[in-house]
Symmetry: C2
Subunit: 258 residues, 2 copies
DNA sequence: TCGTATTTGTACGTATGTATT
DNA sequence: AAATACATACGTACAAATACG
């Protein structure tokens, strides 16, 4: 395998990723069933012609994906948890679409620009003279609106990306691709609100009816703010899923609270 | 430092954890400020008298905690993000208490037992003859109830833990400690419900008023179910926070979707 | 119950590749 | 183009936890 990796075109895929893909393939094929133990790391690494260190990097990935757990002295055990279930709110995505009980089959997008308000300057770390793109999106399932989004983004981000700002659909595409970008994180707040006139109209629900509000800011891994948005959606048509998880206690560490 | 690690009492703390603690201490003290680069890995490892591999294990922990990011060719950059903000719904905890706008100053707990229903048998992977502990908890802020929890747990778990089953307060303590245990994960569903008579009474809200319902099952890292619970809480008094995060793209991997 | 074998965890060292400055 | 810095990969050795006879 080491030789293959060298010959392999010029698409530098790390060896441990290849190993990860090989083993996860095995698991999907049922070569090792849930509850079983994988062969020892020494054996596996020999079989795959990689060093044990490289194999262990692959094992780490397999663990993160919930394919296996490992325990010192026991081995690497396959989980049932082929965790096919769709990912939940713990990942960045589009909750209005992802968790809608009805299929969302149409969106309406409008794009506008305005000078950054005081709040935008703070949240998006912009200078006073900056321009902010305002994207409003209404989501429909059939004839009924199931959600509404107000997205604020520094103009520069859209500009740099060579999106056709005249075409709302391309802007929407860009927004969706942005949400799927790796290495982002958010601070998100979820609460319940009561429909005032405007939103009650958009979502076609009676005034005063409750609906869900999600407010969040998105950042890159370097802490650069890239987007601030406010989502409104109907509680009747949405069920949110979350996969919650506790940190695994660091073995030997007394206290990770500090 | 290698010598120290050997002499160090007999509390086997891995060296890389010690290194992690040292560096995170430096960052808290401001030895390196946000935006700055840490010294190179070779230099750092020499300074700390550890191998570069060990240092890199510590760096991994620092990244997971959001202290630094690193980029090939640039270096390890300190983030502003001293991530002091309390953790959100992405971690297992007690949302009724954690996200209540008012301080929760009193809980009332009742404990009962019943044979496992069909649903419990499925969810908690129990045999038909099993017994399930039913824990009901009402949370108060002053005189008003802000939340209510129905917790179902296999009797064996409580039994093994030598909890005084006659004393609801100890059972509550045990439940709270359980939630803080490392290595757990959950499947959680969040939706909105309308108060029927019983809950409307408990939460002292008008019948028909909306409130939040959180249903979840908790598992150990070995996929063993340990608890199933249903939480009800008032939307007016709660704001949920979530830190959402996208997987970091694996460098060189074409497609992790598979 | 007690060793012994097995299996993962930690730590070192070295070499080379690749991205950024 | 060269220097710097992180990324990958190999190999070795021993420690610690678990399983087993």
């Amino acid at each position: 395998m080491r030789d293959n990796a060298i010959k392999e075109k010029n698409v530098k895929i790390p060896l441990y990723v290849t190993v990860y893909e090989t083993i996860s393939q095995w698991l999907k094929e049922g070569k090792y069933k849930p509850g079983e133990k994988l062969p020892g790391e020494n054996i596996l690494s020999e079989q795959l012609n990689v060093s044990r260190g490289t194999l262990r990097q692959a094992m780490l990935l397999l663990q993160e994906d919930g394919f296996i757990v490992n325990q010192q002295g026991r081995g690497n055990i396959v989980l049932s948890n082929q965790n096919l279930s769709r990912s939940g709110m713990e990942k960045i995505g589009n909750p209005i679409v992802d968790f809608c009980l009805q299929p969302v089959d149409r969106v309406e997008t409008t794009v506008g620009f305005q000078p950054a308000t005081q709040k935008h300057q703070e949240v998006l770390k912009l200078r006073p003279s900056s321009i902010v793109a305002v994207i409003n999106i209404t989501y429909y399932s059939g004839q009924t609106a199931v959600g509404f989004a107000m997205v604020y983004m520094p103009y520069e981000i859209l500009d740099d990306s060579s999106v056709d700002l005249e075409n709302p659909d391309t802007v929407y595409e860009f927004y969706i691709r942005l949400l799927a970008t790796g290495g982002l994180y958010s601070d998100t707040k979820l609460r319940l609100g009561n429909a005032r006139e405007r939103l009650a109209n958009i979502l076609s629900i009676p005034e005063g009816e409750p609906f869900l509000i999600l407010e969040e800011e998105l950042y890159t891994e370097y802490d650069t703010p890239i987007l601030s948005q406010k989502l409104f959606f109907t509680p009747e048509q949405h069920e949110l899923y979350i996969k919650r998880k506790n940190d695994r206690a660091i073995k030997g560490a007394k206290d990770k609270q500090a």
